[in-house]
């Protein structure tokens, strides 16, 4: 009995804070998304009206929402495979017996992950500068370009993808590296005896052993990339011609520039639904995996 009370005393502060500042707002968000909460309601709650699914129906009819959803999906579809491929490459290098200065490179590869996103987005905005940017200069050396990275609607999202790969690849590298190190040496030994070269070893030993980790890493990265916001806010302000307006960017402008808070909450819930679906896919797949 005394222990029960002590346990509650220890757990209560954190649970209270989570309840008041996380779970309560989540529940309120669901209600809010069914109202027309705006600047007038902010001034006087008497102006608040219940609109049912009105906000969600408006979303479907708004071209900009479709565009924001499409842009975000473009970012995820290009960005996630590119990020994971880079992470895997880095992990394989660090894991290789042939590589030198491994601890140093591990630190260097990971450094972008801990950087403050706004600050590095400012750096990359200048690296992508059409006239004086380092990237166009380097492309010029091999006879390419110049590309109007952040000013051309076709290039702005790829530019943000390149920046995101740079910022994030070190994170998954660490997780994949742990996965690689968990593969028993005997497996490679056996493959070598069977006459498998490095490529065959990678295909038949490394990839199957790494598959479960790859699944988790892919889903987590997708979930993170769907939350794109600071990159377009700093680098492109959602432009040019809204080509980098993401779901969260739309939520922010609708909510805190136009104060359509009911509508903006509906936008946030669409994001939630997408992430929820992703998690279900992950659970289903990993269950199938462990059944085998």
């Amino acid at each position: 009995m005394k222990r029960n009370a002590a346990a509650w005393m220890l757990a209560a502060p954190a649970l209270f804070a989570l309840g008041l500042f996380f779970f309560l707002p989540i529940a309120a968000a669901l209600l809010l998304s069914f109202t027309d909460f705006d600047l007038y309601a902010l001034a006087d709650l008497g102006n608040l009206r219940f609109v049912g699914l009105g906000n969600y129906l408006t979303l479907l009819r708004t071209p900009l929402f479709g565009k924001a959803l499409g842009n975000t999906i473009e970012f995820v579809v290009i960005g996630v495979p590119l990020s994971i491929a880079t992470s895997l490459g880095a992990a394989l290098m660090i894991n290789s017996r042939l590589a030198r200065f491994k601890p140093l490179f591990r630190t260097i590869f990971f450094a972008p992950v801990v950087t403050t996103i706004v600050a590095v987005a400012v750096i990359w905005r200048y690296l992508f500068n059409t006239q004086f940017g380092l990237i166009n200069w380097a492309l010029g050396l091999i006879g390419l370009g110049p590309v109007n990275w952040l000013g051309d609607p076709h290039w702005a999202m790829p530019a943000i993808v390149i920046f995101a790969v740079w910022k994030n690849f070190g994170y998954n590298m660490i997780i994949l590296l742990a996965g690689l190190q968990a593969i028993p040496d005997e497996l490679y030994e056996a493959a070598r005896i069977d006459g498998a070269g490095p490529a065959a070893q990678f295909r038949h030993v490394t990839m199957p052993a790494l598959a479960p980790v790859m699944l988790v890493v892919s889903i987590l990265t997708m979930a993170a990339y769907f939350q794109l916001f600071a990159e377009p806010y700093v680098m492109t302000q959602g432009g040019p011609v809204q080509s980098t307006t993401s779901i969260l960017y739309l939520m922010f402008t609708q909510g805190f520039e136009f104060w359509n808070l009911g509508y903006a909450t509906a936008v946030a819930f669409v994001l939630f639904a997408i992430l929820f679906a992703l998690t279900l896919v992950q659970l289903r797949l990993s269950r199938r995996w462990s059944d085998r």
């Binding site: 502060p13 954190a14 042939l98 801990v114 706004v118 600050a119 400012v122 939350q227």
Partner: protein
């Protein structure tokens, strides 16, 4: 074998250059004369290194104030969330109470919910509580985190029950056991957690952007984003601002790298 070795090491240097070049370029440009970086071909090193941009930055903007805001907020967030999380995580791991396991499952399920969904109602709540434009308002979402509780619990499960039982038989109270047995055993994960919280708070952007509209209260990322919109042409000045923002977190990471990476791994294996 020899060719392979060259290939592996060459690609590693190349990827290393990709990772580190933007940061080196930032430092180099921050030391250039105003206007020097806007030339073609882009200069890689300052012709006459100068600290002028840093002087201008601190003289013409409230950079010192923003830095202090960020430092205070990140320190508070780190201390508060680590204390709350360690108490709850230990309770969930080692103390029996009614509904414990069901409650924990609900908490884990909540990890799926993106924080942004809560932000608009949270903003309205803070407005009601008078927390808009205050340190407290910035800190509110980071008082306790599900991830932190989860991480402490994982780690605390390894504390042997016999140790706790022995202390109880000796007549030690639960609070005393927590302080003198659990806390020392949990120190490594506390360092990890405190670092995570510090870095997360230092780099957080969307929430401070929403809750702070008073210039005086702004954190470095919010202030830097504003400056970057105003001073598009002043590359050298902006790079000095980026150095000020990044130096503390990079130094912190280098100091506690081992804790940080092992914590990251413990947190990623959710099972």
């Amino acid at each position: 074998m020899k060719r392979q070795k060259i290939l592996v090491n060459a690609s590693m240097w190349l990827l290393g250059l990709f990772a580190v070049a933007p940061l080196l370029w930032m430092v180099s440009v921050s030391l250039m004369q105003p206007g020097e970086a806007a030339h073609f071909p882009p200069p890689l090193l300052p012709a006459h290194p100068t600290l002028q941009n840093y002087v201008i930055l601190f003289a013409t903007t409230d950079m010192a104030r923003f830095f202090l805001n960020s430092l205070i907020l990140a320190t508070l967030a780190s201390v508060i969330s680590t204390s709350f999380n360690v108490m709850a995580g230990y309770a969930f791991a080692k103390l029996e109470f009614r509904g414990r396991d069901a409650l924990f499952r609900w908490l884990l399920a909540a990890l799926v919910i993106p924080a942004q969904v809560a932000m608009i109602p949270l903003f309205l709540l803070c407005k009601e509580l008078g927390l808009v434009n205050s340190y407290a308002g910035v800190l509110v979402p980071s008082i306790a985190t599900v991830f932190g509780i989860f991480l402490v619990r994982q780690y605390a499960l390894a504390i042997p029950d016999e140790l706790l039982e022995a202390a109880r038989i000796d007549g030690a109270g639960e609070w005393r056991i927590f302080r003198s047995i659990a806390l020392p055993a949990l120190t490594p994960i506390l360092v990890t957690l405190a670092t995570f919280a510090f870095l997360a708070s230092w780099s957080d952007f969307l929430w401070p952007l929403i809750i702070l509209n008073d210039t005086d209260m702004q954190t470095l990322p919010v202030a830097l984003a504003n400056l970057a919109r105003e001073h598009v042409q002043d590359i050298e000045l902006m790079m000095a601002g980026a150095v000020i923002t990044l130096a503390p977190v990079l130094l912190l990471f280098l100091m506690v790298q081992r804790y940080y990476l092992s914590g990251l791994l413990a947190g990623s294996i959710k099972g």
